[in-house]
């Protein structure tokens, strides 16, 4: 497999290297070595290429080494938001993180995202996260008769919430938030991002319904501006800024 074991390497060949993945595992049914529900670390050493991502390494483990490893993924290209995980203590998408960018000389630690109940290995129960999103009513709210044609909007009006339309609901932000870790009642950054997308949409009329929900005890005022969410977002959304815009709308009464 390694370059040296084969015939002289061809021009343009991708270099390969050995890398160790240290994965936090948990089996709700237990394994011969571990009782049901116990969390433990397991290491896998693989030979990977410079173009491989963490997701490719996980695939290799699942397909060639240990089929019992459980994780979510769907698109494998940073679109669906299924494979957020805690890689070297930072929330990232496994499909958007190259192994060579993580210093493969040292073991790469992979844990499930924090603050949500672990179901198995890297799979967490996303329901509390989705429940918060549902509560901010993430759908267009209008009054009056439905127009015959599309609802018009100027480029400037659209630009106000452009950033928050990019969210893929991966939960990297919410599960990087220290307030969410300690207080599961907090809506979390993603729900505020989701609300921001409609609050500042000129076509939507439900902004004050949503703002009233976010004015709640577990709403925007729980945010302590830690910036973990902004750092975690794989879509580059300025999450903390969006949260501040919601706070400002509440404080000034102007949307």
């Amino acid at each position: 497999m390694t370059a040296t074991a084969e015939a002289p390497s061809k021009a343009g060949e991708v270099p390969s290297f050995d890398v160790t993945l240290r994965i936090q595992r948990m089996d709700p049914d237990g394994t011969p070595d571990h009782p049901a529900g116990e969390e433990y670390w397991e290491e896998f050493t693989l030979t990977m290429h410079g173009t491989d991502r963490v997701l490719d390494a996980l695939h290799k483990i699942k397909w060639d080494v240990d089929g019992s490893l459980a994780f979510r993924r769907s698109c494998a290209h940073g679109v669906c938001g299924s494979d957020a995980m805690r890689i070297n203590a930072k929330n990232r998408l496994a499909c958007k993180t190259l192994l060579k960018d993580l210093n493969p000389k040292r073991p790469i630690t992979i844990e499930p995202i924090k603050g949500l109940p672990v179901e198995k290995d890297l799979i967490v129960d996303m329901e509390p996260f989705f429940a918060s999103y549902r509560e901010i009513m993430p759908f267009l709210m209008t009054s009056g008769p439905t127009p015959e044609r599309e609802r018009l909007q100027s480029p400037e009006e659209r630009a106000r919430f452009d950033d928050t339309t990019k969210c893929i609901m991966c939960a990297a932000c919410t599960t990087s938030c220290p307030v969410f870790w300690t207080d599961g009642q907090y809506f979390g950054p993603q729900a505020i991002v989701g609300a921001h997308r409609f609050i500042f949409d000129s076509r939507d009329e439900g902004e004050w319904d949503r703002l009233e929900i976010l004015n709640d005890k577990a709403g925007v005022w729980k945010c302590r501006t830690a910036f973990n969410c902004t750092e975690a977002c794989p879509r580059g959304i300025e999450v903390t800024k969006a949260i501040s815009e919601v706070k400002k709308a509440l404080n000034t009464g102007v949307v």
Binding site: V179, I213, D216, K217, A218
Partner: protein, 157 residues
């Protein structure tokens, strides 16, 4: 299970407001207060530190007489009183936020917040008493200076 899998997941009915509905925008006022009092504390504390530790003879000037001298002036009485009250309410409210974060059980939250309220009130009351009833040269029943008072009290009389 096989038939259920092809169906869309059931969506829970919307609950308009989740647990712990806030009273009269209390959390918003708390948030605004932390910022307002923070700015005031910045001015109050750093002026306080500058006057006590840098101006004049610096740290070495601080003794009983220095404190007595400052509290002889209403300006510093008010200054220290405002600083005391703001810092205690600001710090107390900050601790309330932390209790809300970390104390999961209702009885624990209630106990800690009661304890906090008692501490804040006691310190504010005691501190205010010291600031406004402070007398550097207390007299005994016969009108003489009590033993142990600072020497400058002789000059003042």
């Amino acid at each position: 299970m096989t038939t259920a899998e092809s169906k869309a997941p059931e969506v829970e009915p919307l609950r308009p407001i989740r647990s712990g509905r806030s009273r009269n925008h209390a959390e918003q006022w708390s948030w605004l207060f932390m910022r307002g009092s923070g700015v005031l504390l910045l001015v109050l504390i750093f002026t306080h530190l500058f006057i006590n530790l840098f101006s004049g003879d610096g740290v070495n000037q601080i003794d009983f007489a220095f404190v007595a001298g400052k509290w002889a002036s209403p300006l510093w009485q008010i200054w220290d009183f405002v600083m005391l009250v703001l810092a205690m309410i600001h710090g107390g409210n900050g601790m309330r936020l932390l209790i809300n974060d970390y104390a999961r059980r209702t009885w624990m939250r209630k106990t800690l917040k009661t304890l906090l309220a008692v501490c804040v009130t006691t310190i504010v009351v005691l501190g205010s008493l010291v600031i406004f009833t402070f007398d550097p040269c207390p007299l005994d029943a016969s009108g003489d200076l009590l033993p142990g008072v600072p020497t400058f009290c002789e000059d003042v009389r």
